[in-house]
Subunit: 233 residues, 2 copies
Amino acid sequence: MSANGAPARPIAIIGGTGPAGMGLALRWARAGETIIIGSRDAQRAEQAATAIQRRMGRPVPVSGMENKAACAAADILMLTVPFEGQASLIKQLKPAMTAGSILIDATVPLAAGVGGRASRTLGVWQGSAAQQAAELVPEEVSVVAAFHNVSAELLGGDNPLDCDVIVCSDDADAAQLTRELAAKIPGVRALDGGKLENARIVEQITALLIGLNVRNKGHAGIRITGLPPAAYL
Amino acid sequence: MSANGAPARPIAIIGGTGPAGMGLALRWARAGETIIIGSRDAQRAEQAATAIQRRMGRPVPVSGMENKAACAAADILMLTVPFEGQASLIKQLKPAMTAGSILIDATVPLAAGVGGRASRTLGVWQGSAAQQAAELVPEEVSVVAAFHNVSAELLGGDNPLDCDVIVCSDDADAAQLTRELAAKIPGVRALDGGKLENARIVEQITALLIGLNVRNKGHAGIRITGLPPAAYL
């Protein structure tokens, strides 16, 4: 634990300088987490960290590193990159991943990645982007699928969100940790979405939400209703 | 319009004696709609209609007919049958469908239909069960996908629901009519889910909700957040 009681265990946000990565960094920094923003370009990562610092208005444990260094320095890896960059980035980072790490994947295989529409998805042979990730990481690394359906714009704001995060993984402990991280974001409830294979559905929902956003000029999210309180974290 | 001001235009609920069909019949009967419950067996359909009458405690325009007769007697056809029966039923009913009819399809291609799990889906060549339906109906019949994600158990109860209905169709008027029917169910908001091809995502969501129900003993539904009020009907 760090001096202020927050966990010193860092979260590396790989490819974290985009809107989703920056939004998560901001929200988790506010919750007292230690964050490493990763980028292909170390300088860009540092600038992103400085931007978070400035936004917070007080010194917070947020730093920036080149992706591989960020990966080596953390056991919790949050992946927020476009689908078209996901597989090659994971292959590149694989040697830097330490055994026992958790890779939280928020990748959505949008057809936009190959020049198609953001309201359509690509078929992924493994079933989902998250399952593709699981095939590429070292054996001792657990993959969790989460945060696909959270609006990056709203994450980057100051208001509590109004959405649920559905967490899918074959590793119950990794899923639990991820649900706890999700629940640290004000307004977010976390749900056990079952096995990693279910990520295929959660990923698709993002394409539906993008379509709703386009038609209605909004920042759509989802809430799951009808479950007992114990279902939500 | 009928004497009590309700629309006399009937809604035929094809394969309507199951929980989802009976729930919709009940909710729409309460809203003053004229309902024909369809079943393979005319007598079973009549019994179902009598059950709704009894439940309402007052005479309501709810009748029961064999599926084909129900189909011929209505321009709004609500299909609530298991996926494994969908294609053959539509083929059988095709001659009875009148030009200008709307077929509202709530079919979910659950793997349970072929002995698999209800939390997994089957791949449908056309993309979704609704698109399969669209390929099978006469050209002058519009297909709308809706009501996949509404709990049949809660539909059959007396309390307002707490969920949204995402409506997908290539026919804007048919989609609008369906959204209006959805919004007649207390607690339901209807949303434009875009083209019929998007039904593939909405259908999958049901499998995810079934998994959530199994893990949490609930009756899960979804709400879409983050859209302006005008997005919801």
